[in-house]
Symmetry: C3
Subunit: 146 residues, 3 copies
């Protein structure tokens, strides 16, 4: 558990960010008088609605990668990537609220961070696999080759 | 693993609840003849569809909080909150199926439960942080001050 | 961690599959000129959009079951079921892209796999419950009865 404090903190921060996005949708529903269950409305409302929906959709993928990468590769590096991702998502949400164009740069940024987490997870899982099933410490092998 | 039995049981119950909601959408699609990929239909269908979509959206947030709070704060208290949340979501689904108004009271209830889990998680992560990085046992400090 | 390598690998594979589905939606948006935040378009686009939305919706449920079943029942069997589920979801996505009918067979297959994971989780949680709270080893009891 010692090493997972950072992962826990980033997970909690991610939940708070989602809560913030949900509140923005609620305010936006009131502002543009779009009552549930309707999800169609003026473009401003639809952008905020889609921004939140997109962030929600990626949230479980983010959490899965954060912990896979954190447990199998490095909790510290994963937590840092997690913070960068959450920062990117905040910029994405604000950008998308302004215009469809405004979502692009932070979207590319946050998906690049996810690919880094995918890379970390892949390396971590591969290393654990070699250690458990082949009795091979890849880290040592690589250090030896250098 | 001893302490996490409750968390596992609540997670499983949460999955079963989601399965129940999904089945209701399928029955409702048949009843109102709304064939996939369409998601628009009579208000009754749209309410059930949105109720399920909303519960699905919150499911990963709920699971993340349940386990963060359970691992870092207290598995017992978190499991109890988890049961309350799932109960609230069931009431929400049934209420929303009846009318948009019917979703409000249980929605407020279940989001209040989530805020309690957020509070537990925050206290738990903070305590773990102080213990790991500052060598400080907050629980002892608080008991000492009382 | 030794036993969880398979679960980590399947989780990562699941994330990569979701990334693939998301990319297909992006390509489809370009092909049929459906710019965000719009989600309505020609049936071909809507099928791909709904296929991805449905897979995303089930992703957190899948991950929750994979790990609950893996931690409490058997990491090996859960990983195998996980691979089957991901295979079923790929067939579902391709089938739904072709026609609404094409989604049905793989949808039934992948939900059957989820029910197997639900069964494993239930047995695992029950066994852990009996061991922790009743001091009863169910596995031994069953072996004794045979």
């Amino acid at each position: 558990m010692e090493q997972q404090v950072g992962l826990g903190a980033v997970s909690l921060l991610g939940v708070l960010e989602q809560a913030y996005f949900s509140l923005q949708v609620i305010y936006s529903r009131r502002k543009f008088s779009v009552s549930p269950p309707a999800t169609d409305g003026p473009p401003e409302f639809e952008r905020i609605f889609r921004a939140q929906a997109n962030c929600s959709e990626y949230f479980p993928i983010f959490i899965t990668l954060l912990w896979t990468s954190g447990v199998f590769f490095s909790p510290g590096l994963s937590s840092v990537c997690g913070l960068l991702y959450l920062y990117g998502r905040l910029q994405y949400f604000w950008g998308y609220s302004e215009s469809p164009q405004g979502r692009l740069a932070p979207l590319y940024f946050s998906s690049r961070v996810l690919w880094v987490l995918i890379g970390f997870s892949a390396v971590g899982v591969l290393m654990a696999f070699c250690r458990v099933y082949l009795g091979l410490d890849l880290q040592e092998v690589v250090l030896h080759l250098l």
